[in-house]
Amino acid sequence: MLVVLKAKLKDILNTLAEEYKVLVPAKIEDTSKFISYKDNVDIILDENVKLSPKDVFFPQTEKMYKMKTVKTSMELENITDEAGKKLLFGVRSCDMKSLDCFDQVFLTKGYIDEFYKNKRDSVVTIALSCSQPMQTCFCSAMGVDSQKAVGADVQAYDLGDKIGLEAISDEGSKVIELIKGQLTEEGAEVPQPGEFYLKVDADGVSEKLNGMFESPIWDDVSKKCLNCGACTYVCPTCHCFDISQEVRGENVTKYRCWDSCMFGEYTQMAGGHNPRPTKKERVRNRFMHKLNYFPDRYNMLLCTGCGRCINVCPVNLDITSVIKQIKEAE
């Protein structure tokens, strides 16, 4: 396997930065997320970032197009995406899997979301295996292999003080080609991942939920929920959005932004009717969407076991407990 010392990682990133806009997982302002690589960024390799990389593909607020409205006329103007290839280094398997989910949503079922597609097409990914899961991790229970990501261009392995690199796609081979001179060939063993703290058994949970829309567990599960959007905003798979506009006199900028099914206004109709009026319906929709509706529609779970929602929930409403409750329900 081609390897590099972790201490020399920045050399490689510097080389790649000549070709790509490189994004790395880093500590920043008392949180962590993927940011543009610079020599002085505080890269973190020992745990996943607190904010998922979804905003690289699906920004929290994304300008879509502009309109100029003068009296009765309205002219449309496209907004072009920033050009150039991006390279996302150090994406964990859970977050790579979330891109798989996003691809289903944004690229299938008859309509292609061009805003997403443009970004997706311009990003090359180097996935990084996890040697030690964080306490809130449960990816394996969601069918994600923490050592081998889906859809990565390059798979990187955490080998202790070194990182091993393996090209997966053609695009990945190009990346390896660029840095080949800085890598050495070594017979490296991919280490076994550490134990998961959370024991989760999600087998059959999707099927079980088929008959559980009216189950009393939703009353129970939702009671403590505050209906904030923290879980949905840190979730790498939550993809729901709103479309709105910023009006500055004649100039209107249409944008889309993350929205959350936890908010009452999300399904509030103009006439006043709200099909999901209380937290019970909203919490039920969130978990049903992740564990039943999405599998029904796209044949995969909409949860990758990254554990971020568990990490941020103000009241510790833990999806793994919900899964357990579902499985134990009569």
Partner: protein
Amino acid sequence: MVDLTLEIRKTAKELLEKGEAKVVLGWEKGNFPYSTTPVFIDKPEDTERLIWDEYCINNLALYMLDYKHLDGKVGIFVKGCDSRGINRLVQDKQLDREKVILIGLSCPGMKDEKKAKELGPNADIPMAQKCQDCRYPDPVVYDVFLGEKQNKKVPEKIDTSDVEEMETKSPDEKYRFFTTNYEKCLRCYACRNVCPACNCKECIFDQTATGWLAKANNVSNNMFFALTRAMHVGGRCIECGECERVCSVNIPIMLLNKKIIKDINFLFGDYDAGLETEERLPLGGYDYTDPEEFM
């Protein structure tokens, strides 16, 4: 920490068995040694789920809003901050004091869940910031009290040294500080939704059609949200620190709240919100003697 778990369970069980309370709110253990989660017990046999340990940090008061229309009483365990939250809701006419049975618990100060997560199982976990700043660990109002009051020696006045430090900074430095922090705000509204002072039936920020605040996430919208909220809870903030504790991107939200508390104390006299329910709020009316130099 005195283990009152058994007493808590016994008290809750009695309230439910005697029919004095329809439901009892407390804490149960979460999936981690350092986590607890609010629990709503309505059957005597479920009282075994209740616990009392150094991670019972959630302020339960705001859940009373969900039981406004319950036919019957709610039992709720209250630490100092929870009890001030209850007063907050009563004073704001959001809660009928007669409908709650407050079971007081003296709080030794809860541990920092985030730090516990980071430092691992064997580390010495520091007290949560909100508890370090707490001046009322004993409940200020209760119907029943379990265990003993600590009458812990606490500072008489709110510690605003961090506010004072910020005040010494230049406008540019302040601007940088706040924009950096509010740039990362996700506007998940966890701070608002966890706050016992944020009890409006419909929040201004949910009225998206009105255009008060656009949904677009940017620093100016985010700061508009944060400042409006801080002003709105001005004089009503009970300093429970829940907003800051739950922030998923670690924004020092209490700094703003404390700045407003400090100013209110200076302009209208020392005031600690949520200690009682009768007195007029400092920003809830005006007196001829009110300072008006700023007008």
